[in-house]
Every structure is written in structure tokens, then in C-alpha cells.
């Protein structure tokens, strides 16, 4: 809802601005480990990416951190992760049928052969929260929104009332993930609908004038709703806000708070997911 408020004002403000690419001289001294990984309740192979931070105008693929020891743990059992292409990829994977369990807390431990910014061991923990059942998904076309109309993607579910819940929404079109990078994902906290039956909560807007969001008859839309922790919610929120560059509400820019120890950047997330599908008519 807050995001919609931002968006509403954004449209109001996008009135007269003109843009121009410019040269900016920046000092580039930062060097940190970057960790990017997750586990969820789906049974599949999970990957953890280890990279390094670079100068802002580095403009090449980020360097990979290889030969690390990466161990995932659910509090009882350790699961060592193997580098997919040892010494090359910097991608560390579980086996093909790994499945997270709600109620457990997952810990990721990373040990590097060489220290980065003075540290060689890093750790992150994330609780895996349950999520309410997604009853169904509907699509609603509004021709008056946007130049070529907009599809609203609405979901139906009972929001549990007791605790504060944080949600992450992903969208697939014909099985292909449309929200394929973190800033495209949608998040919401339950403050505005705690304990209500969500009878058509709009979670995505697909602007039909944008090629990547276009829907045609017969397309299958899948919504993935995930229950995430407050920390992960804040992390995604900060990524989205740092991408939302307007001096009106961004506030002064600040570094994004992840959950990796020893000054590393990034997030290790655990969450449970539920899916619902709809064929576009």
C-alpha cells in the first residue's frame, strides 16, 4: 500500500524532468564478500552465489569467489554445498531434492581460503516462517490504466490474524519467472489487512504497453506467495528503495542492511511458498 502511495506521487512528479547521462568521478576503494542465497519449502536444488564487490563503474561481470567451503545447516544437520564448477563458478549448490521445513532456522557458513576485508569466515541465519494457503488467483483487465491497459493480478487467501506477516510475491508467465531480479519482486506487510480474507488483493500490475509484461489469451499466470522474515522484507524494501531514485521520499541514500556477518554484503533467506495458477481469458 505504501508502495502504491509512492507510485501515485511518482506519477504526479514525473511531470517536467529531463534526463541526461553524465560523467561522475567516484573514489573506488570498497572490497567486500557478497553472499546471495536462499532455501525454501520447495523441493529443488538451491544455489549460493559468492562474489566480490567492485567499484561502482567497474562495468564488467563481478569477480567470483571460488574454492570456498559453504555449509548449510538446519540447526541439527549440516549440508555441505559443492561448487558447481570447482574453482570457476563461485556457485555453491545443494543436491537436487533439498527441501526447507517451516519452523526451522537455517544457517549458512562460508569459509574462504583467503580473507576479504580482513575476514575469512562469514555466517548468516534466517528463520523459515510458514505461509498461509493461497486459495486462488484472478486476472482483471483495466483498459483505462496506462496507454494499452493494465492487467491486475489479484489473489484470494485468508490472512492469519495473530502475528505480523511479511509476504514476497513472484510472478510466472507460462512457467517463466517474470520477477527475475530482486527489485522486480513485490513485497507487502500485513498492516493494512491483518486477519482479513484477501478477496482479490492486487499484488501485480502488468502494463500492456511494456513488452515484457504483455499477456495474450491462453497464457498461464502463476503467483508464488512466500512468507518471509521481517529482516528479508526490509532488505528487499531497501533494494527497491535504492532503485527508486527520487529525492522526494528516498531519504538520503544509505547502505543496504543484509544478514551476513563480518561486513559482508547480501542476504541469505529462508521462506515457505505457496502457488496458484490462472489461465488468461
Amino acid at each position: 500500500m505504501i508502495k502504491r502511495i509512492f507510485f501515485g506521487i511518482l506519477v504526479l512528479l514525473a511531470v517536467t524532468g529531463c534526463t541526461e547521462r553524465i560523467e561522475v568521478k567516484l573514489d573506488e576503494t570498497y572490497n567486500r564478500l557478497v553472499v546471495d542465497g536462499c532455501v525454501s519449502t520447495d523441493s529443488r536444488c538451491y544455489q549460493v552465489n559468492l562474489t566480490r564487490s567492485v567499484g561502482y563503474f567497474y562495468n564488467a561481470p563481478v569477480p567470483r569467489v571460488t574454492h570456498a567451503t559453504v555449509i548449510l545447516s538446519d540447526g541439527t544437520n549440516p549440508y555441505p554445498l559443492a561448487e558447481t564448477r570447482p574453482g570457476v563458478s563461485g556457485v555453491y549448490a545443494t543436491d537436487n531434492l533439498f527441501e526447507g521445513r517451516a519452523g526451522k532456522t537455517y544457517t549458512l557458513q562460508v569459509i574462504l581460503p583467503e580473507a576479504i576485508a580482513g575476514h575469512a569466515t562469514f555466517e548468516a541465519s534466517c528463520a523459515l516462517h510458514p505461509v498461509t494457503h493461497l486459495d486462488s488467483v484472478t486476472c482483471e483487465f483495466h483498459s483505462d490504466y496506462g496507454k494499452k491497459g493494465t492487467w491486475f493480478v489479484n489473489l484470494w487467501a485468508q490472512e492469519p490474524g495473530e502475528e505480523v506477516n511479511y509476504y514476497l510475491f513472484d510472478l510466472y508467465r507460462n512457467g517463466i519467472l517474470l520477477t527475475d531480479s530482486i527489485h522486480k519482486k513485490e513485497i507487502s506487510e500485513d498492516i493494512f489487512f491483518n486477519g482479513n480474507y484477501l478477496s482479490g488483493l492486487t499484488v501485480m500490475y502488468l502494463d500492456q504497453s511494456v513488452e515484457a509484461q504483455r499477456l495474450v489469451q491462453g497464457d498461464t499466470i502463476t503467483v508464488q506467495m512466500s512468507g518471509i522474515t521481517k529482516e528479508y522484507f526490509n532488505f528487499i524494501d531497501q533494494v527497491k528503495r535504492s532503485d527508486f531514485n527520487l529525492p522526494f521520499f528516498s531519504g538520503p541514500p544509505a547502505n543496504i542492511q543484509g544478514n551476513i556477518s563480518n561486513g559482508a554484503i547480501g542476504f541469505f533467506a529462508a521462506y515457505s511458498s505457496t502457488y496458484a495458477m490462472k489461465v488468461v481469458r
Partner: protein
Amino acid sequence: MMKKLFLLNLAFLYILVAPAMSQGVVKANQYTISGKVTDKSCGEMLTGATVFVKELKTGAVSDMYGNYSLTLTGGIYTLVYSYIGFTTIERSIDFQANQTLTVELTPRLHNLKEVEIRSEKEDVNIKKPEMSTFRMDIRTIQRIPALMGEVDVIKAIQMLPGVQSVGEGSSGFSVRGGAPDQNLVLLDEATVYNVSHLMGFFSVFNNDAIRDVKLYKGDIPANYGSRLSSVLDVRMNEGNSKKYEVNGGIGIIASRLTLEGPLIKDRTSFIVSGRRTYAGLFLPLSSNKALADNRLYFYDFNAKINHRIDNNNQIFLSGYFGRDVFKNDYAGLRWGNETGTLRWNHLFTKKLFSNFSFIYTNYRYALTMPGGVNNSFEWTSNLRDLGLKGDFSYYLNTRNTMRFGASVVYHMLNPGIAMGIGNESIFSEVKIPANNAVETCVYASNEQKLSDRFTVKYGIRFSLFHNVGPGTVFHYDSAWMATDSSVYPAGKLYNTYGGMEPRLGLLYDINGKSSVKASYARTFQYFQLAQNSTVGTPLDIWFTSGPNVKPQIADQVALGYFRNLRRNTIETSVEVYYKWMQNVIDFRDYARLLLNTKLEGEIRTGRAWSYGIEFLVRLNEEKLSGWVSYTWSRTFRQMAEINAGNKYPAPYDKPHNLAIVLNYNISKRISVSANWVYATGAPVTFPTGRAEVGGKIIPIYSDRNAFRYPDYHRLDLSLTYYSKVKPGRRFNWDLNFSVYNAYNRKNTWSINFEQDHENPDITYAEKVYLFGIVPSLTFNFHFNND
């Protein structure tokens, strides 16, 4: 409890004032002359006119309502009444009894409506123990080239020394390093909480309805308080009490119409003024076709009526109403201010003048977000003040002028209610608890002439602030997480702050042409804006001091040298200042300010300090007028948890600031104006590194405000062509052609760092600028029934 505190206030006032009053026992053989100084052409009262006693080389200055009072030992004296742009009048008075004398001064006509632009009084710059202030009448402001021809009070203020604009086209301003919410903006004594129209490109002040403005950057008189950094006192026109007049203007974005005149000649006058922008505003300027569905407009009204009951009583009723409306498919937003002031101006004796005011102000907004089936919701918020205030001036003798008074303001805040629209809505109501507060104050000050050369001004203000229930206060742990809360019933005073605010001013008149002044002022602020961006939105969230938020306190010292040249037509000054601020508000990184019930957990406080030197040359010559100002200043902040606790430049720290504002009357029918402004680029935080997470490049930032935007500079030009002046001519007009940003500089509004769509490994910097060259044409007309 509340009554007790109020009585305490009164007792305090009595202690302050009584000893001074007792000195005022009338000595034998002393007589007082009092009265008004008014403009003969329209009956408007003249503020700051001088009444000079030729024989004694002393005198008095008329107050805000044109009243003056002079007490002299018996004898025959020559009184000289003068006001800039008006013909001076001399009167020989035999002081054998108390008497009343109202004097009407005739404007020295240059152009029928356009009186020459001069400051209030020939040598007030030198002789008055007042510094760090700037007063402008509306005619000065009307000549400044303006964006889209919409002449604006706030944009004029932003070109004064020590004042920084917070951003291109913004109505926010920073005074001597203060935050924009540290400025008290008053319209006929009522606080205006949001001065912006159209996101700040224009201010709420319609120049046809405004008489003059005065900015106090420091040396704030004891009768003002409740903000740390400045007071901008805007006064509305009283309305012509002699004849009916219609004034209006047609510009490229808005039209104005004003009607004024006497209801009862010389007794009751009124003014009504309205302004509205055209529909479809801005759309021709936008290259984005999607904006074609947007509707954006504003309108406002000013009205004032004043009635002179007799020589000792006058009442005024004034009001303002303004609304901005924005609508498109995705959102609807309405916001605006309403103010109302009822004043009674009463002269108890020839020496004791008073003014009582009842003040109302309301700032509100509503945001509607239409959604799908049951996703629509609305968010509303308002902030209301009810105030009562009494101000007294006591003209003890030619050496002492005392001012004292008291005020009570009741603040009612509804920070926000968001709720779904319709029965089927999936949204529950989210309400930020309403809260109320009472702000009271008493003050007393005296301006005392110790010798012909040395004048002191000393005063004290005692302010008290109470949080009044109903209220919900959360308690926070050391990590700023709310642990539990206290709920207070209606009417309960659950928290009190208060403080003494001493004020001191010194004047040493060196030789009648130059003087040295010094001042000290302490100010308290109990009311602030939750805003963590440099540029404001219409969705302002004001919050009060309380158990979790201490009042902000500022101490400012200033020293200045003032010199007038060429028979007072050129005023020059140099001022240095240092300002210390405590409990200054900032917010944690990625603070959530909108609809947050635990807003106070997002606040981080600390200290701020600012220092600088300001040079000003003000020209008041027949043909050439305006000013040139240069300021060098620095402002820093230091807050727990922000920038790792290290000091950082404040958002408005722009060390070099130059403004040249000039108007030249080529002939009686043609006048040209130009202004050029230059300022160091605002400080900004840039990314220095990047990391890749979730398929997205995330920035790693520098220290807070470690970089700067490119320097800002801009030239504006205008030419005004007037209709022929003929005595007795009823209809006059002028045509104004202006160019904003004449050399088309693409001044940086913001710099964004973007990820390339084609190759996501590439990042680049992109500058956003708001305006290229903007020409405009405005037609103004004046019609009277003379």
C-alpha cells in the same frame, strides 16, 4: 494542572513587566502625541514610517498597524513624517497637552500603482537595533523575474543572503543552515504549515493579496518563537479605503483577480483576491504522453475586511483558503491550507497600544488510490491550530519602548488514517493515533536608548509546551524497538517541556551613517516535520515534542557592520553569525515515515551547527534598485547512528552563494529586471562501490554527503511595458515578458545511478534537470472608479 501553569505564565509576565511599568509614571510637563500614518491614495496603513523630531534629533517609528506614539517634554517641536516613496510632511506641534494626529502621506507617483521601491525608512538600517532581517514590499517582489511569470514571495526570499533554496523550483528554504521546518511562516499571524502549490513550484502567497513580507534570520524578537531558524511574517493587504479598485492578471499558467474598496469610506475596507491555474497545466511541457490523463491544478482565495470603530479601536478579519488537486488513473490527491485571523487593535492610552488575535489554521490532505474490485483506499490527515494572543506596546518615553504579551496555541494533529473504500474492501483501517498539544508563552522586551549612540534591546520569552491526551506513547528500547505503550485519556497533560528564551540586541551608532550591531537569541522548537528528503511532498507529517522527542534548541550570535551611502539610497551590511542547535531531528537510514504508528522509533537526534558571513548591498535609487548578496557559510550535523556517528555536511550546506537582483527603470513606461544566482552544489551521497545480489546491482555508498552536485547558476530576465500614465485615467495595464533560466543551464536536480537495460553489467550516472529556458508573458491590469 494546565490552569496552574497558565497562571504561572501570567505571574512571570507580571514580574517581568511590573518594574518597568512603574518607571513609566508620567513626569510633570510631559505630553504624548499619538496617531496613525497612512497612505493618502488608498488608506493603507504605513508600517515603519518615521516621525522625526527635528529639534531633538530623535523620533519614533510606526508599528505594524501604522500607529505611532511619542512622548516629549512641553514645548514647540517640528515633527517630520516620512516614508520611502512618499512625500515628506512637516508639522509644527505645540506640546501642551496629549493629542492625536493622524497623518496621510501622498505617494510620489512614478507609475500609478508602482511606487518606487525603497526600504521602509531612510536610515532604519543604521538606527534601529535590529539585524539579520530583510523587509520587502510586494512591489519589489513583483519586479523580480519569475518562473512562468508567477511572481512569488518565497522565490524572492530565497535570493537573500543567508537563505538557501532547498532545490530547483522548491518552496522550501533553509535559513542560516536550518532545516525548512525550522522556519515559522505566518500569514496575518496564522501559521502556514505547507507553503507549496504544485509541488513547490509556486507558493501559496498570491502577490495581489500581499502587502509586505519580513524575514527574521536571527535576532528574533521576543514576540516570536516556536521555530529555531527564522520567522517569515507575511501581511495581507488591508484593502483600499478610499476608492474601488479591480486588479488582475493573466499569465501562462494562472489568472488572478482582486477586488478592493471602501464599504464605508475611510472606515471600512475590504479586499477579495482569487487565483486559479488553468486545467491541463504543464501538459504541453511534458514529452511523456502517459501524462496526458493527468489533471493538476490549484486555486486560492484571500479575503480581508477591516473596520475602524474609532481612533482607538480597529478590527480586522482575514482569511486564506487554498487547494491543490491532482488526479489520474492511479491516484487522486488534494491538499491545502486554510487560515483565519480575527484581530482587534486597541489603543488603551496614547502610550499603550495593544493587539488581540484569534487565529485558526488547518492544513490537510487526502490521497485516494482507486484500485481493482476492492483494493481502493483513502488516506487522510490534518493538522489544526487554534490560537489566542495578546501583544502590547508601551511607548514609555523617547528612550524606552516596551513590548510584552502572551499567547496560547492549541494544536490538534491527526497524522493519518488510511482505510479501504467500500463495504467489500480488503483493507482494515490503519490509524496513527491523534494527538494534541498546547503551546503557551509570555514575553517582555524593552528597547532602550542609553545614549545618542548606544541602544540596547533586551527581552525574554518563556515558552511552555504540554502534550495533551488522548495520546498513545510507545516506549522504545535501546535498539529503537517499541516494547510497550502508555495510553493517556482525553484532557490529560502527560508531558511538559518549557524554557527561557533570552534575546539581546546591541546597537552602536558610529556617525549617523554607519553602525555596529550585535545580537543573541535562544529559540525553542516543539513541532517538526517528518521529512527525510531534501525536497518536500504535499504529504507532510508534523509531529510534536513528547516523552520520546525533546524540544530542539538553538542559540545564535551575530555581529554586523552597517553603512549607508549616497543619502541612504545604498545600504550595505556585513554580518557574521554562529548558530548552535541541540536535539536536532534526523531519521535512521531507510526510515519509514508514511503511515507509521511508531514514527518516533525512526528518529535519531543530535546536534547541528552553522556559521557564516553575509555581505549585502541594497540599492534604492530612483532608476536602479535591487540587491547584491554574497554568503559564505557552512553547516554540519552530528547524530548518533548516522554516518557512524561522524559529523557530516547538512543537506543545505552550500558554502558559496551569490545573488544579484536588479531592476532598472529605462523610462516611465519601460522597466527591465535581471537576477543571477549562483550556489555551490548541494552535498549528496553517491555510490562508490557495487555488489550483485538477486540479479540486481546494489550500490555501496560513500560517507553521508561526501560528494556534491555540480554548482547551480541561473539567469532570469524580464521586461515590463506600462500603459501611458495620465492623471485621472481609470484603466491602466502592463505587459511583462520574462525568461527563466535565460542561458538554458541544465542545473542538476538529482543524479541517479542506473543499470543499463541492454548490458546489466554496465552502470551509468544520469542527471535529472527540471527546466530549460522558460519564457512567459503576463498581462496585468488595474481599474479604479476614481
